[in-house]
Symmetry: C2
């Protein structure tokens, strides 16, 4: 008899089936009766055990249960077990209880025993949602003529000239882990693909260990040629996020319900220049952000502002000053001290950085020099600018941050299966 998933049982009422999964819970009642809650990748179902089938089985053991599907007194379905086989017995006790509505231990304990905490239905839901989000990212962009690219993670130089890089011993030489596929995605645009995306890990040797930072994360990178301005990029990202969110709403109803969240629905996402955003948080909340940027509290407040009246708390902040953006950021046409760039903030957190890039070789070399960078160190990047580079730009979405913001998770580690941070290298 081939295996049936718990989610398929309603179609088998009156029939005999075989289920495989984990013992989520086992309640031994009196009178040779037991309720075994079986969990598989699709959900949970109660199996009723009686007679000689009743025996202690450690929670989280892998079992195979065969039996008849019947309508349960509650209205759903349950299985009247005819046989129960233990495929792989779990040790007991477990490090913590998994069959409660919420997990009790703190995040560090849950991460130490990640293979167990991931079995909890709410935690399980996080990475199901993430997989759907990323599938929809690919689906939308492929439909818009984008090519998926795979660029090297072992690199000779950083995109920004050296800070926050992890060193790698590459045979006789020193190499580094890529902080971003920035140069390579631009190069692939100029190499003729025009529209490219990459879904890949990036590595940041940042010392700070906050709820927003990971030292390795999944970057959803997009780069597009022949744009008219960065407005084209914000249009693209708006359509992309609409598609990603609607796929999650369609395919992850149960997962969203576990977290009690609704996916935001929006037509446009407001676009507010940085100077105006700073003025708003000052005027409305008395919060002064110094320099040309919003600090984390400023980011939270501008999201609160756009989210008033129940609107989605999402906003493109635009026109960042040049000195807080990288050397490849295109100056704004009306004011060369600003850039044609943007961040997308969602529910108080930056989830995207993007913008138009400089495509003129001479301007790019000048911009490098103005920051004390030596253009000769960037020769292989600069080659594409010397031989015909279209106007272009792009953005990068942090997959874990987006997942966390969508589900209301307070720490980005909760949206990472096996996070890497200042102190954590295991599991």
């Amino acid at each position: 008899m081939s295996r049936v998933l718990t989610s398929q049982l309603a179609a088998y009422v009156g029939e005999s089936v075989t289920l495989q999964g984990w013992v989520h819970n086992l309640r031994l009642l009196g009178g040779n009766l037991a309720f075994l809650m079986l969990r598989d990748r699709a959900g949970l179902v109660q199996c009723v055990l009686s007679g000689e089938l009743v025996r202690p089985i450690p929670t989280e053991s892998v079992v195979e249960v065969s039996g008849r599907v019947v309508t349960a007194p509650s209205g759903g379905v349950e299985v009247q077990a005819a046989s129960v086989a233990v495929v792989s017995a779990a040790e007991s006790p477990l490090p913590f209880e998994l069959n409660k509505k919420d997990l009790k231990p703190g995040l560090e304990t849950l991460l130490d025993h990640r293979v167990l905490s991931l079995r909890h239905p709410k935690v399980h839901a996080v990475f199901t949602v993430q997989s759907v989000l990323i599938g929809a990212f690919r689906e939308y962009l492929a439909g818009q003529g984008f090519t998926q690219i795979f660029t090297p993670k072992i690199v000779a130089t950083g995109t920004e000239g050296g800070s926050n890089l992890f060193g790698v011993d590459y045979f006789e030489r020193k190499a580094y882990l890529a902080q971003s596929p920035q140069f390579y995605k631009q190069m692939m645009v100029g190499a003729g693909y025009e529209r490219v995306f990459e879904i890949a890990p990036v590595f940041r040797a940042e010392e700070h260990n906050t709820s927003r930072h990971l030292n390795e994360y999944t970057s959803l990178d997009v780069e597009m040629g022949f744009i008219r301005s960065e407005e084209d990029l914000m249009d693209l990202e708006t359509g992309l996020l609409q598609h990603m969110f609607s796929r999650v709403a369609e395919q992850c109803e149960a997962e969203l319900a576990l977290w009690g969240v609704l996916v935001p629905a929006f037509g446009e996402i407001p676009r507010i220049p940085m100077a105006e955003a700073q003025a708003i948080v000052d005027r409305k909340y008395g919060k002064i952000s110094s320099g040309g940027d919003l600090d984390p509290e400023g980011e939270r407040l501008i999201c609160q502002y756009v989210g008033e009246g129940g609107r989605p708390a999402m906003v493109f902040v635009t026109r960042y000053p040049r000195d807080v953006r990288p050397m490849y950021a295109m100056p704004a046409p009306e004011d060369a001290s600003l850039t044609a760039s943007f961040d997308l903030l969602m529910n108080g957190l930056e989830v995207t950085t993007g913008g138009q890039r400089i495509h003129q070789a001479t301007m790019l070399i000048e911009s490098m020099r103005a920051r004390g960078l030596n253009p000769e160190s960037f020769a292989s990047y600069l080659e594409v600018f010397r031989f015909g580079m279209p106007p272009h730009g792009g953005f990068a979405i942090g997959a874990e941050r987006l997942t966390a913001r969508l589900l209301g998770l307070s720490n980005v580690r909760e949206a990472t299966a096996f996070p890497r941070d200042r102190t954590r290298l295991a599991p």
Copy 2:
């Protein structure tokens, strides 16, 4: 006027359009006439320039051409240019000519100037095909209930206890780059996802520098729980490859034509135990493979054997001896000196390694000890086996090798946008 792609022009005959792309070729004829071959991501089209529009423009410059679409004398379409603007002029001369049917320089020169060689239509086609292959990989597996996972590339220990690892300076500690997501994909199966896949870079510090090896490549990893045997995995991979190849056949007709290849069509892929494969290459070709494995020449010959009569040169070689497989390989039920494992060979090259894994904690610990490995070093991997692990297995496809075999490329670097090898770290 918004941009039209070269591939869309047939729908615009008689209308005025704007094209954007690169100058593939410019032929200045007498009498104020010139033919400009414009190339965009979708293809090529001839633009006819006359009068004051005729001027020298360096090949590979980015241009915008507006004009009327007309039927060409050859039967296709061409554009009668009304305006030509140079958006980004290319330096001249180019390092090598791009507008020939085939590229002249050797592979190392083509890789040194990768942003240029990628512009050649045949080279461009390679990564279009790769993107379609990988999109179809995702599509098929998502349809079979698989979850896409993202596992760490910075790890504390290797999957095989230490060889071929690149070291990483991780703050105060020594870490390594993951050679494979093997442990993590198994852990995600046992963490309740049951069916998972990952598309991500892997890193191998192998000293040898051959046409088959890369030090960083894209691994298409699959792992599945609740299998009955490794036969389930070969069934899955057969259906998966059928889907991937048929998507390429549908979506990449022009790309396949450039390489003059047909995608192999197959129902089943033959499954031959290693001992029998060795006997076949000995009997048919007088080739002795020593040890329990086929060497590269043996792999070529067994593919030649199954490919006789025009059949696809694809074969699953099964039942590898335990001593040539990793410690987590499940012993064969009928002979514990063999394993329930397989390789897929295609057109003479291994493109997949897979098999059933040991899921019993005690057997796994024993297998580690038998190889001189200390189970304590694998504590976080072993945890999932202690708390209920289903029978499971999986496989990994090398994306570059598969692309290379499909298109008949002789060196796997040709199927890598920016390869990393023993000596190459740039671009």
